[in-house]
Symmetry: C2
Subunit: 473 residues, 2 copies
Amino acid sequence: MKNLALALAALPLTALALPALAQPGDLAALETVADRALAADAIAYGFTEGLTTEVGPRQAGTEAEARGRAWAMAWLKANGFANVADEPFEMETWVPGDIARARVTGPFAQDLVVLPLGDSAATPQGGIEAEVVFFRTFEDLRAAPEGSLKGKIAYISHQMRQAQDGSHYGFAGPVRWVGPGIAASKGAVAAVIKSIGTDHHRNPHTGGTDFAAGVKPIPAGALSLPDAENLERMFARAGGKPVTLRLEMNPRQLGKTTSGNVVGEIVGRNPALPPVLLACHLDSWWNSPGAFDDAAGCGIIAAAAKNVASAGQPLRTIRVLFAGAEEVGLHGSVAYSKAHINEPIAVGLESDFGADRIWRFESNFRESNPDLHARLARAVARFGVANSPLVATGGADLNVVRDQKGALVDLQQDGTRYFDLHHTPDDTLDKIDIVQLRQNVAVWTQVTGILANEQNGILTGNFERTGPDVMGD
Amino acid sequence: MKNLALALAALPLTALALPALAQPGDLAALETVADRALAADAIAYGFTEGLTTEVGPRQAGTEAEARGRAWAMAWLKANGFANVADEPFEMETWVPGDIARARVTGPFAQDLVVLPLGDSAATPQGGIEAEVVFFRTFEDLRAAPEGSLKGKIAYISHQMRQAQDGSHYGFAGPVRWVGPGIAASKGAVAAVIKSIGTDHHRNPHTGGTDFAAGVKPIPAGALSLPDAENLERMFARAGGKPVTLRLEMNPRQLGKTTSGNVVGEIVGRNPALPPVLLACHLDSWWNSPGAFDDAAGCGIIAAAAKNVASAGQPLRTIRVLFAGAEEVGLHGSVAYSKAHINEPIAVGLESDFGADRIWRFESNFRESNPDLHARLARAVARFGVANSPLVATGGADLNVVRDQKGALVDLQQDGTRYFDLHHTPDDTLDKIDIVQLRQNVAVWTQVTGILANEQNGILTGNFERTGPDVMGD
């Protein structure tokens, strides 16, 4: 344990004497369905298998994403959800094209495996060839003088490591999020990065990149980790000779197209009460079926909602939000908040960090509603979920709750291998560990059931520690 | 231990009292350099890093393979080898082209990751689209009636598993080696197979496929394991509807081009004695730099030869053979045997099964020269190498020894993860475990040193159990 003070701080709440629930019978039934999910859930896996097999990749704003929405709506209806709808919105749509090639042309000729980053510009047909300037870290790139990259291709590295809480994404992510834009502002004609990931397979990690206002987008790609390391070895062996690269990619902007949010409900006994909102996202990058990111997340929340219903109609409505166009800039989350800002949400939860075991529980109402926080922490302890002293900030698709300054629960998944797969072609069904997936469904069933049967308001959340959530982007 | 009888059979030889070597001083010096290699060898890793970084993929018969030969010759000369030469030969050369696309078009539209198999024909431009016929095993394909695949694409599956001795390659390999040819003979317009491999990454395993005389080659590709499993799930979910695939690939035959074998020698004190031949292959498939297969093998044998020399000039010459064009049909091995059949080899050894730990030792002279076999077994025991009751058959590039009915030693590597990487883009430097690589160099140094200082002839081998070696193909 790295931080003993944090660990001790988590103790007192779980040790509190717990008041009985308003409907104790509900709790017993709920425990039974949660335990059954732990042993044998087939709903979440079935959803994940179906979506990845029958639809596959679901790039935001494309016909493939639309097929994903149709599939998901059919699934929700077939599984007893009410008020199933597709809430469309318009967005600027980027597509990757079908050419992505990189070749070192000197001093050691060799192809490298590359994929474009979201919002990358295209190269001229036949590619662009230039000397590569090697930046070992993001800070090194930032320190490069203005104009110093004129006519060059920037290559930006990092040393991202696996982390259970995913926190190294915050450490290395800026290389992708804004590195190419910074390189462009200093004159670079293109940029390639070491993939923001922790695996060693020849599958680049794509993801969005932002070009600041006034900076013209340049071609920007991610090299797989082995290719990036190979390029770095070439620099070490070049003896000062220039390393030159030819890059060819043909992504393009389509202009405005339609995406949409899919919603569905388990209607509560008192539909006038603010609902519990469970969120995930339905889109994936074009290069994978997004089993981990985020088909499984949608499967988990849908299974939890269905399980709660099977234990008896909940007091509050449970609404699932399968957001559209999350990967390319949280368009669905923004659109949902805009459309529903005046409909109060009792509490929001999101699953968008793979399908591995939930290891800790956070809320943002530990101080405002300590009784509820403690009951939830107590209820998930039998699944190996620890109470965490951190304040929940909610996932990417919970803008509406943050905009309402509402209550949030984060069921934190073990992210150790998440960035082995994140945004790569390798994010496929076989990566799902069904034993861990079932633990997710059990925990979600338990927590959702308690929240959806909560008579009193869940109270305003603590927003002291909120900020942009980067995990799902 | 699965086979206790085999384990016990291995005991008596290692328990024999050992006669002293002709030059006991040599053995002590040899043990010192072998132990040093175990602790700190940098030669084999340096070779592997250099070849994969400065040359990269080395498809047989292409300019890339020629660059590999030039690089290897420069390395051998710089490292003290004599008589370094490129022995050219002509061969029919196939190249993969730059288009390899597969898309399921119904009932569930989705791209699949595919690569062509060696000697695959091209599809028409724009691809070929047809219904897929699913064969769960090679035997199912063989049982299909004549003409039953007319106009169809055959898909052939298997259930290959990891095996320490690599033996599942023999179990599943026929799917690739002859499956497409059998499908063609029954009328198929194309064939795709589940990759012959044991990993779960989106990187297909290529490799050669043979079309029998009189069978016109068809387009033949390998799907990555996750894609193959996805296709199989589509069959399960199609409800009897036809599954259709569009396949586009543009490999082509170049006609005759030049490849070559690179040789080099540590010249012995008595060059008139038959030399010890250490073999590996220098070519790789186009899709990877072939770190495991077989840059590391060349690094291991070269390091061993150099280490033996550093312990004092050996009695016999040690010749290294970096064969060309092994992957596409053992052309280098055949050419070497043809050119050198009348120059007797004392004993042949090959490294071509990755770079993981050597776990057992085999010879084909256990019965004809039990003293030497026992001394070798005893000498490698301290590196965790067991004496094996199996008879060595030699690797793919030792045709010359087999053709001479000569002596062979097999230093069997742990192949558990070999078929995770075999013939995939993932066969990169980062997969080399330097601790295990060093154990290889130590064992090879020890064994090569003993053999190269052996005064007497090593005697004719036992060829009762020889047959086509499939490991390196």
